[in-house]
């Protein structure tokens, strides 16, 4: 009974904070709503006996990715954002599409049947603990995807650096602008003095 109430609470909070996250005007409030959503998501992972993924959800999503979003939001100007329209010109098209998709997905869910069961039952995972079981799978069956995941992170690191770096030419022209602009002012002063 307790677990049903816990699931209901998490589901309610996830739905509410998700809807608030896409409808609030201030982007910082949106990011904070998504933070609340991620914490309740971790709670749901706990009800599914996935403790390691709950920890990863909080550490990586709430700790790293959302902080990245917050930093980028502070880099772009927020003050203008508060006075502008948050939605596109006719948002009801998007809302109708999303609502139709939700209705279609919820309609087909009862037709789903489970397939063959694997070897990792709850008792088998409990014997070796969840982290060790997942690690065993990750480093044996999924070794190649794991390495590719590391490569993807490296590409993201280099790509983020290359995108966020200023161009060499741009800085030179900026420096040249800054160096040249005071000069006419000085010459003006000289002319005025003469």
């Amino acid at each position: 009974m307790f677990i049903q109430i816990f699931f209901g609470y998490c589901a309610l909070m996830i739905t509410l904070s998700g809807i608030l996250a896409i409808s609030l005007r201030n982007p910082v409030h949106c990011v904070l709503m998504v933070l609340v959503l991620f914490f309740h998501m971790a709670g749901l992972y706990l009800t599914l006996n996935a403790e390691f993924l709950a920890a990863v959800q909080i550490i990586v999503y709430a700790g790293a990715i959302l902080v990245l979003y917050l930093f980028v939001l502070f880099l772009v100007s927020l003050r203008e954002e508060l006075h502008l329209d948050a939605f596109i010109a006719n948002p009801w098209i998007g809302r109708v599409i999303a609502g139709g998709l939700a209705a279609a997905l919820l309609y087909v869910i009862p037709a789903f049947t489970l397939g063959e069961k694997g070897v990792w039952s709850v008792e088998a995972i409990k014997q070796v603990t969840h982290t060790k079981a997942l690690g065993q799978e990750m480093y044996s069956t999924y070794l190649l995807p794991f390495e590719i995941g590391g490569l993807i992170l490296l590409v993201a690191l280099i790509g983020g650096l290359a995108l966020a770096r200023r161009d060499e030419g741009a800085t030179e022209t900026n420096a040249a602008d800054e160096a040249t602009t005071p000069l006419p002012a000085q010459s003006d002063h000289k002319e005025a003095a003469q």
């Binding site: 991620f38 489970l114 995108l163």
Partner: protein, 100 residues
Amino acid sequence: MIPLSWYMALSAILFCIGVCGFLTRRNVIIMFLSLELMLNGVNLNLVALSHFLESLRGQAFTFFIITVAAAEAAIGLGIAIALYRSRRSVHVDTVNQLKG
């Protein structure tokens, strides 16, 4: 015990909230955030199926999805910063140079 269909319904709703945010918001950063919501909906579905199928395949996939989501956030936000630097705006409807 919570039935599987509850988890699937919740993840479908979360996915559709993400779709709605992606289609309606103007700010590129909030659009990326909606993308994260969609990925989380899929993650919840995979973890629930992995629990009910007694297999760790779905959880391994969730792990990789979190990795790719981190990479996607880094690249996407780098693009957003580059966009803001050249346009002084992160709104998608102001980026219409190729519209003709």
